[in-house]
Structure formats: structure tokens, C-alpha cells
């Protein structure tokens, strides 16, 4: 292949210094500046060759995309540095500033996602999506597919899809695998079962439902006391109260489903 102007660093320096200002940070800016200010020696081919080889935003973004990851704030400088083949310090400063304004960093995403962490319920993938979308509305997500970013952030935070969480909570509260009656425990004659939710160690956590009374109080309460569990009442109010107290803990592709601090099951994060 025959040599081009890009193969002659002194020529590149001379032309760039004469016609291209540091604030011409994009390829289009460079070409426009060369065509406007330069003489007949700078043909369109020369201008394009220069714009393709000197440091521009596009060159840095191409490098970021090739890395396969969203860059961190600290990595931006290194991306800019290694994209500059002609040691143009002035251009490095302005291109770095332009990239920081244009490209989302891992810290931008982390802050946006964390700002959506709720205080009264578990964090869901939908919260993560909302955070990533907010970042994407003002900056470009480069280096990784936004959907992959959402999935990675959700797994890192143990944030399942809301439907998966609600389903797991419903299965735990709606059809508990443990029904104990006062008759079973020998504390009463009622045979109607009281639902018991146990933690993953098998210890009873909460009891609800039941029918009848024992010693002037609901049979379910007596069963709960006998088992050493909380009594959550009966009826739809009890089920609603229980449903609202499920949370998650842990991170990764499978997290604990917890009830009042105790692990009672698992939820997949996807």
C-alpha cells in the first residue's frame, strides 16, 4: 500500500497545528476545518486520511466499543491516550472532555441505578432498567449492549423481575407446605389447619389463618405461640400483610426470598 500523509508524523503535526483546533473533536469537525482553512494541497483524500488517523471522538468510541465493557471514569483517560498516535496533548484534553460528556461510564450507571433503590420493597430489575434508561437518555452507552448492562447490574444487585418476585412470594404465602392444627399440637380440639411459613432452616417464622378460639384467643394465635412463630391474623388482611413483608437478600443469579429477615425461599434473577 502506498504511503499516505498519516505515515508522516511531522506532516500530520504541521497540518493539524495550522488548521485544526483542539475543540474540533469529531471526525466531521476535522474534515470541515481542513476544507475551510487549508489550501489546494489538502485534498479531500488527505483530509479524510488525517481525520481517520488523528485523535477524534470516533476513534476513542471505537476503542471503547471494542473493549466489550462500559468504561469506568478512570479508564476514559487511558482510552484517549492509546487512541492518540501523534501525542497531541491539547487534543487529548478536549477529546477527553467531549468523551466524558458523551459516553456513559460504569459509575454513571451505578449512581443512576442506586438512586432508584427503593426503601420499602426489594429492588427489581425494572428499577435497574429505569436507571440505565435514565443514563441512556443523556449519554451513549458504549462498550456493551444496554440490555446486557441491565442484566449484569440486576444480577450484581440481586434484583429479580417483579413478576418473578411476586410469584415466589405468592407461592410461599398462598400455598405454604405446612399446615398445623391445634389438634396436631395437642393444644386444642380444632382440626382446621393454621398455615405456617418456615425459613430455609425449617424454623417456623409466621403462622396465619385457622378457625375457632382457644382460651379466649384465636386458635391460630395459640398455634403460633406453641410453634414460636409470629401470628399474622387470618383472612385477606393477614395474607396482604404477609405479602407486603417479603424481601430479597443476596446477589447473583439466585437470591434469597426473605420474610422479616429470614430466608424462606429463592428467586431467580434474570
Amino acid at each position: 500500500m502506498s504511503a499516505t500523509v498519516a505515515d508522516y508524523p511531522e506532516a500530520v503535526d504541521r497540518i493539524t497545528e495550522a488548521h485544526v483546533r483542539p475543540e474540533h473533536t469529531t471526525r466531521a469537525d476535522v474534515i470541515a476545518a481542513l476544507r475551510r482553512d487549508s489550501g489546494p494541497q489538502i485534498t479531500p483524500e488527505v483530509a479524510a486520511d488525517l481525520a481517520d488517523n488523528i485523535l477524534t471522538e470516533e476513534r476513542v468510541i471505537e476503542a471503547i466499543d471494542s473493549s466489550g465493557e462500559v468504561p469506568t471514569e478512570s479508564e476514559i483517560r487511558a482510552f484517549v491516550d492509546v487512541s492518540d498516535d501523534y501525542d497531541m496533548d491539547d487534543r487529548q484534553g478536549s477529546v477527553e472532555e467531549a468523551i466524558r460528556e458523551r459516553v456513559a461510564t460504569a459509575e454513571d450507571i451505578d449512581r443512576a441505578v442506586e438512586s432508584r433503590r427503593p426503601t420499602d420493597r426489594p429492588m427489581f430489575r425494572e428499577d435497574v432498567e429505569s436507571g440505565v434508561s435514565e443514563v441512556a437518555s443523556s449519554k451513549e452507552i458504549r462498550g456493551a449492549d444496554p440490555d446486557d448492562v441491565v442484566s449484569e447490574e440486576a444480577v450484581e444487585r440481586g434484583a429479580p423481575r417483579e413478576t418473578d418476585f411476586r410469584g415466589a412470594a405468592a407461592r410461599t404465602a398462598g400455598s405454604p407446605d405446612d399446615v398445623v392444627s391445634p389438634a396436631d399440637l395437642g393444644i386444642g380440639s380444632q382440626t382446621t389447619g393454621v398455615s405456617v411459613i418456615r425459613d430455609t432452616s425449617g424454623n417456623p417464622v409466621v403462622a396465619f389463618g385457622g378457625a375457632g378460639q382457644i382460651d379466649g384467643r384465636p386458635a391460630g394465635e395459640a398455634v403460633a405461640e406453641e410453634l414460636g412463630a409470629e401470628y399474622a391474623g387470618s383472612g385477606t388482611e393477614a395474607i396482604e400483610s404477609i405479602s407486603n413483608d417479603f424481601r430479597t437478600s443476596g446477589t447473583g443469579e439466585s437470591v434469597n426470598l426473605t420474610f422479616r429477615g429470614r430466608a424462606v425461599g429463592e428467586v431467580d434473577v434474570r
Binding site: R77, V82, G167, R247
Partner: protein
């Protein structure tokens, strides 16, 4: 409301979540008798007897005695004839029959069940109250020449054993832990955990994300992994977490130097050393990242009154107890025998709640004011790296020398800074068709920052 109506009412709250029995209710399914299902499920040469042992609602528990072979009931690949007593669960609500793992096998020799019958008969008498509570167990043997009483009196060597992942024998030999408390021996955390759970929930925080297991008798963490309460054993910590919202803690070691700042009443925990004025003040802040930005880190030390922790630290939970090996007070060294009088005592060494108030919320400005009134630290004027490197040890700071130690002389050179790193510590990128490498996380300059 009937149980069915209650159940339907509950499921209606979860749109898109189908109930387990929502599928084709009108389709008629083929049926099979429980007897046939049981014979199909149980691999048996013969079923000797079936006993219904319990019923819970529509779930019935059966104990089935069958003749089969050892390879059917165990992982051993031996076709030895055995008699197996096995629990089978019949669920009439869900139309399900399952053979459980709850079973007992014995060799298929008539003398053995005959001898066991005597044991079962004695068991029956005990349960009925026909024998004295302190009557010794019935001893009998189906093995010729084996006297069970002589066997029980024989001495054999024992080794240290674990209960729930904790070295029980070792724990028992170390002084300074109340032996009457079961939680230190593979059981759960101290009862004070319930109060902590209440306070955290009150503050809108998930307890399972903030509690972590500590080493028995010490304040060191097992692994800094937040765990649900039911996975805690013995001493526990309350993680602050490096998040924008959540807990912060003031570690007041020198209360005489603590500024007279107006802080709200809040939850406070004292350590076993010193008096109650030396304590951890636990607060909540919804803009912790602003504090971290001004501090330049998630924790600072060297304030004249103690330490300020915003995240990435934990507070030892109340009810935790230090043994002599957990004591680092004064001249005592953690991990070495011999602690202070408090930690060597079985009734001492406790972390206690000294202010049982709800965890109060403060603003970053309140903490800035506290720092401004303290000596030993100055707040930075500009935000710094919001993702500072995690410190593995509270006492250690990352030095330029230690960063340089991370260089790998046999590694690959970063095309930006020239440092040599292992491949995992570099990112490989393409610039105009040529492969280049940069330090993962950013290059470290001569001043030690990236």
C-alpha cells in the same frame, strides 16, 4: 370467607401469576388408586405392612415396610436383601404420592425385626407413660455374642467435631463465653438480634441485607457476606453498605473529644471495653454518597474522637460476646489467649444496646458540621473518585509502593502508562485495527491515583 374464597381472593392480587391449579379445570384426568400408585413407586419384592402414622389436613403420612435390596434404598451398589421402613406421603389435595427420604433399612433376617419389636414395644410403653421417666433404655441384640451393655461401656478415641460449621470442642476450651448460651455452639444469633431487626425495619431497611456472620467469640467477620437472620450463628455484625442511602456509624472511642453537636437520639451500641460513653452511634442518611464524595472514601479514621463510617464497614451487633481470644483491648492481642478481665469473664465481653431508640435520620450537612467541629480531618472541597478501592483492612491505606507491587514483571505492558500487569488486570481494545491494552480500572499515576 371460605378457605377457597380466601385463596382465590389472594391470587387475584397477583396479575399474570397463575395459581397452581389454574390449568384446565374442566379436563378429566385419568385416576389410579393409592394402592396401585404406592406399589408402582416403591420398588419392593414384597410389602409387609402399611401404617398410617399421621394426618395433616389432606396430607397423610404412611410408614411402609417392604422387602427390597440395599442398592434401592442407599447409594451402595450391593444387592443385599434388606427390610426397609419408609415414609410415604399421600397428598389428596394435590393428587400426589411421594416416597420420602425418611427411611430405615435393616438386613432381611427374621431375628432383626423380631428383636426390634421389643425395642418398639418398649418405645410404646415409654410414650404411653407406662415406664418411669428415668428408666434406662432397653438393651437387646440380634447379633450372637454381642452384649450391648458391654459395648456402651467401651472407651473409644474422639476427635474435635463441628456443629453447624463451628468447632464446638475448641469453643468449649476457650474461656470468656457464657456456656449457658446455646447460640455459640452452632445455634443462632443472640436474642438481641430481634431488636436490631425491628430497628432496621423501622428505618426502612432490609435486615437480611445488613446482618453478617462474625467469627465465634470475636469481632472479625467470617466473610462480610450479608446473610438472612436464620443463617447467623453466634456473633454478628451490622453492615453499613457503600450505598447512596442507608446506615452510617460514628465509632466514639474518645467521648471526651466528641463535639457538642446536636445529634438526634438514635440506636447506640457499646463495646465491652470502657463505659457506655464509648459506643457506636448508628444513624441513617439518604444522601450518603455526598458524604463519601467529600470524604473521598467510605470511612475515615483519625478524627480525635474516633472513626466515621459511611459504608464498607460493619458494627458488631448487640448481644455478641468476645472471648479472651477476641479481646484486643490495651496490650491484649486478638487471636492470642489472655484477654482483659471483662472478656475473660463468662458474664462479660458483651456488646450491649445503650440507647434503644429508633435509628435517626441525618442529612449530610449534619455530618459535615460534626467533622468541621472535630480535629484530625479536613473535608475535601471537590468530589473525588466515587468508586474508591475497597480497603481490605480498616487500619490499612493503599500506598504507592503497594500499588506498584501489583505490577507483574512477567506481565503485559499497558500501552498508556507502561506498567506491566497480568492479562486479567488489562483490557484489550482495538484502535484502527491494532490491538492495544490499558489498565483495567484506569492507570495509576505517580501520586497513587487512577
Amino acid at each position: 370467607m371460605s378457605p377457597d374464597a380466601k385463596r382465590e381472593d389472594f391470587w387475584e392480587q397477583f396479575d399474570g401469576v397463575s395459581a397452581p391449579d389454574d390449568q384446565e379445570p374442566d379436563r378429566e384426568l385419568p385416576t389410579e388408586s393409592v394402592r396401585d400408585l404406592l406399589e408402582d413407586e416403591l420398588v419392593a419384592d414384597r410389602i409387609h405392612g402399611i401404617t398410617a402414622s399421621r394426618r395433616r389436613g389432606d396430607t397423610i403420612y404412611l410408614v411402609v415396610s417392604r422387602s427390597t435390596t440395599l442398592d434401592v434404598v442407599s447409594d451402595l451398589d450391593i444387592e443385599m436383601p434388606v427390610v426397609d421402613l419408609r415414609t410415604v406421603v399421600v397428598d389428596l389435595e394435590d393428587d400426589n404420592l411421594s416416597v420420602s427420604d425418611n427411611g430405615l433399612w435393616i438386613p432381611a433376617e427374621a431375628e432383626i425385626p423380631e428383636t426390634l419389636m421389643k425395642t418398639l414395644a418398649r418405645t410404646m410403653s415409654d410414650l404411653k407413660g407406662s415406664t418411669d421417666d428415668d428408666a434406662p433404655p432397653l438393651l437387646n441384640s440380634a447379633v450372637d455374642g454381642l452384649d450391648v451393655e458391654l459395648l456402651l461401656d467401651r472407651e473409644i478415641a474422639v476427635s474435635e467435631h463441628e456443629v453447624g460449621g463451628q468447632a464446638v470442642d475448641k469453643m468449649r476450651r476457650h474461656t470468656g463465653i457464657d456456656p449457658s448460651r446455646p447460640w455459640g455452639y452452632g445455634a443462632g444469633p443472640p436474642p438481641e438480634i430481634d431488636r436490631v431487626v425491628e430497628r432496621l425495619e423501622e428505618a426502612g431497611l432490609n435486615p437480611a441485607e445488613h446482618t453478617t456472620r462474625l467469627v465465634w467469640g470475636k469481632k472479625e467477620p467470617m466473610d462480610r457476606r450479608p446473610r438472612p437472620i436464620n443463617e447467623l450463628k453466634g456473633n454478628y455484625g451490622i453492615e453499613l453498605l457503600p450505598r447512596n442511602k442507608g446506615l452510617i456509624a460514628l465509632d466514639v472511642d474518645y467521648p471526651e473529644h466528641f463535639p457538642e453537636t446536636e445529634l438526634p437520639e438514635t440506636f447506640e451500641v457499646s463495646s465491652p471495653h470502657g463505659d457506655d460513653s464509648q459506643r457506636h452511634i448508628i444513624l441513617r442518611c439518604d444522601r450518603k454518597h455526598e458524604i463519601a464524595d467529600r470524604l473521598g472514601a467510605w470511612a475515615i479514621q483519625g478524627v480525635e474522637w474516633g472513626d466515621l463510617w459511611i459504608g464498607d464497614r460493619y458494627v458488631v451487633g448487640p448481644g455478641s460476646q468476645l472471648s479472651e481470644y477476641g479481646c484486643d483491648n490495651g496490650e491484649h492481642t486478638r487471636g492470642e489467649p489472655g484477654g482483659c478481665a471483662e472478656c475473660e469473664s463468662e458474664t462479660g465481653g458483651y456488646y450491649r444496646i445503650v440507647s434503644d431508640a429508633p435509628i435517626a435520620t441525618v442529612e449530610p450537612e449534619d455530618i459535615f458540621a460534626l467533622i468541621d467541629e472535630s480535629t484530625g480531618y479536613e473535608l475535601r472541597d471537590r468530589p473525588v473518585d466515587p468508586d474508591p478501592p475497597e480497603l481490605d483492612d480498616v487500619e490499612e491505606e493503599i500506598s504507592i509502593e503497594s500499588l506498584k507491587e501489583h505490577e507483574d514483571p512477567d506481565g503485559i505492558e499497558c500501552d498508556s502508562c507502561g506498567d506491566r500487569r497480568s492479562e486479567d488486570d488489562l483490557k484489550t481494545i482495538e484502535v484502527a485495527g491494532s490491538t492495544r491494552r490499558i489498565c483495567r480500572g484506569g492507570c495509576i499515576d505517580d501520586e497513587g491515583s487512577s
